[in-house]
Symmetry: C2
Subunit: 297 residues, 2 copies
Amino acid sequence: MKGDNDVMIDALPSWNATPTKEALMAFVSTVTTPGNGYVPPIERIAAFDNDGTLWCEKPIYVQAAFIFAKWQAMVAADPTLADTQPYKALVEGDREWLSNIVEHVPELVKGVSEAFGGITTEAFEEEVAQFFQVAQHPHFGVTYTQLGYRPMKELLDYLRANDFRVFICSGGGRDFVRVVSEDMYGIAREQVIGTSVPVTYRDGELIRTAGVEQPIDDGEGKPIHIWARTGRRPLLAGGNADGDVAMLSQAKFSLLVHHDDATREFAYDSGADIALATASTKGWTVASMADDWATVF
Amino acid sequence: MKGDNDVMIDALPSWNATPTKEALMAFVSTVTTPGNGYVPPIERIAAFDNDGTLWCEKPIYVQAAFIFAKWQAMVAADPTLADTQPYKALVEGDREWLSNIVEHVPELVKGVSEAFGGITTEAFEEEVAQFFQVAQHPHFGVTYTQLGYRPMKELLDYLRANDFRVFICSGGGRDFVRVVSEDMYGIAREQVIGTSVPVTYRDGELIRTAGVEQPIDDGEGKPIHIWARTGRRPLLAGGNADGDVAMLSQAKFSLLVHHDDATREFAYDSGADIALATASTKGWTVASMADDWATVF
């Protein structure tokens, strides 16, 4: 997107003409224009959180819906599972137990390992692909791949047109997101960073094992993962929650998506209080879904 | 590189017109030509070992030369270090001790951690960059960045021109190779896969810590790392040693560089016996430096 095209083509048609859009375009113009603030293409890395930043994360994370669907199928096949956690909470509809991730890490990791441990990476991919074909969002009634935010997808395109390499940096599962990242966002699998499970090699096969690799790709894990994967700090980063603060703090331009649109999506600050306060202190750009986005999906 | 250009432009001028070159070009033609064997661009991943495959690895690994230079400076600053391993072996010129990596893992890792643990990733990069500016190869008398193999660099360009994304998959240090990968090979930092040390986040800084992340990026660790980093198996892979066998076994086209040129480089099969035998069994393409390469550097 050269400067002389800006007049004719709006690269971000789903963004309203607000200071947020202006700030995004001014930053991209600065780093791509020779002179003060210019950044060579090789250093133009952008990193985006996924849940709540690129796609809808309510009422539950998409990956949680995937895992719950699998657990339900497991309980149907073996009803005795319902006597133990985490299956018990799911069967009983105990949302409080299930959403208390911090306190129930061992049981939740055990459940995920029982569901997907010991299978090949290809078999896991097929299960994920199958889920995305059939599962529907409980509120919007469409498949989850239709719930990427259009303004953000335009932003990814705009950045790529300006020689950025765009990465997803998700607290969720790397191998889960990769199955849809290319079709949904034009982001190649190798540009998806996320939380992962250990994989072992056995006679040419790659097998998912139990457990979770540390650090997970959330909070302070995000800058660590981005460094490990890219060898750089992000020039531009986008997030929406407290788990994105460390990543956003590393970037030259930080965009915080604010879920304040109860009409078109959901309005919630829970889990983003620190991020919103930090945005205010550090002068990050906050994208109000209600005011800055002409379209959501 | 379209088929109709092949007649006019030789994309691999440093390769002699042998069956090896023919096999490489035939494979690339097959996967890029619509029809049987076609592979969509998004799936075109190539992975290359670095030491002995893209650059010279004798008489010692470049990274070993870097570490030894640092240890020598440390001993000069604190001569009491020379009483303990690994510094003792270095001071005494005990090549046998130093090259017995398997038996001396704890001491060697300790030495590396003492040399580079606790410093920021940026400080480490500066030390590496400084080394590459001044250090000279003991045999060729040039800086190490001049010792990339020209035929292989042409191959990387050729693959990229055919919409492959090219990765380094090095048993050596990821953060070490990244410092020179862009200038030497046109390979962006995010496309360098390698052995790594844990990094922690502290007040916005990324700090290298002690130890080595498991698995290291050698042997069966290579396909695991490639999967973790790209979400794919390599379509084409290149290596030269036994530690590359697992990676080469995953690829559709496997290239083994054979060091049989005592005149222009070095001739050695040690450390490549299993690789050479496997190449013969599985029909991998073996590149003879003596016969297939018109130029080495």
